[in-house]
Symmetry: C2
Subunit: 147 residues, 2 copies
DNA sequence: TTTCACGTAACATCTATTGTTACATGAAAC
DNA sequence: GTTTCATGTAACAATAGATGTTACGTGAAA
């Protein structure tokens, strides 16, 4: 299965934007992310709908973050992306007639629901500010290594 | 993303097999599962490699469970299927040069690793015998409803 | 009015799962 | 022994979702 990497993508984009004090164009972001500017617009557009980022056209236009980094959580971003399926494993029929299949579905649903709660909780606990802190740590570690 | 439903499928098949005291053919199972007999053989073949089921050719041939229901866990079945990806969400590059991307990957990996541990633990705790018990409960509940 | 950048539709590509066809192999029944 | 039944397996088709691409429209600043 092909994994949805949009959450990873927007995080990567937002962190690069956080490092700049000017708007970043879709083209510039696309280069950072090794993707296509249209993909950037399409995906960042979902964040704009939730008021998380702004976009401006014309000269000196581009994308900017519209809120404090500490107030944006990974969970919010996940929701802004439309809460895509978290699991690559599932069952075929949602409401089967077969009692055997109902039993199987119930067991799997229980196990996955528990894991889903865990992951949503974790996503809720991590903000962009946390990522920025982690990045700063890695950044100075690399500088120290170079010197 | 298209979800892998093979775990659901083999569970469904095994429970039907558990209800029979004769081998079940791939054709019969395929009808239960609303799929194709070749898909059944392909998938059940993975379980056979782990010794969880047996297959016999010719007259009165078909598939049988090769172990006690209480000793087969969902986790074992997941492993027999080749431990397919659990998550539909991931990141693009496994070992990126970009420090920003490394930071993003680390955060997501942490969150998902925790959830993966939860789900594997749950799968380990559920056996086919548990499913059979649950099925029996549902079965008698339906009978009671009918009467 | 030209340039820049986003907005969006439409289409192409890629990839993984699932479904299908075809034929070989082996075992039991006759 | 030959027919029938069932699995084993390769090869290919269909499907679906994610991602990439092209093309053109719109608005803002130089």
């Amino acid at each position: 299965m092909k994994r949805d990497s949009r959450l990873s993508m927007v995080l990567h984009a937002l962190m690069h934007m956080a490092e700049h004090d000017h708007p970043m164009t879709s083209d510039a972001l696309a280069k950072c992310l090794s993707t296509n500017p249209v993909v950037v617009r399409r995906t960042m557009g979902l964040l704009r709908e939730k008021g998380l980022v702004r976009s401006e056209r014309g000269h000196a236009g581009g994308w900017t973050i519209a809120a404090d980094l500490s107030t944006i959580t990974l969970r919010e971003l996940h929701e802004a992306l439309g809460e895509p399926e978290i699991f690559a494993i599932g069952h075929r029929h949602e409401a089967p007639d077969c009692l055997v299949e109902q039993s199987v579905n119930a067991a799997l649903d229980g196990a996955f629901a528990e894991a889903e709660a865990v992951i949503l909780k974790r996503l809720d606990e991590i903000s962009l500010a946390d990522l920025a802190t982690d990045f700063a740590r890695r950044h100075s570690a690399r500088r120290a290594k170079k010197d």
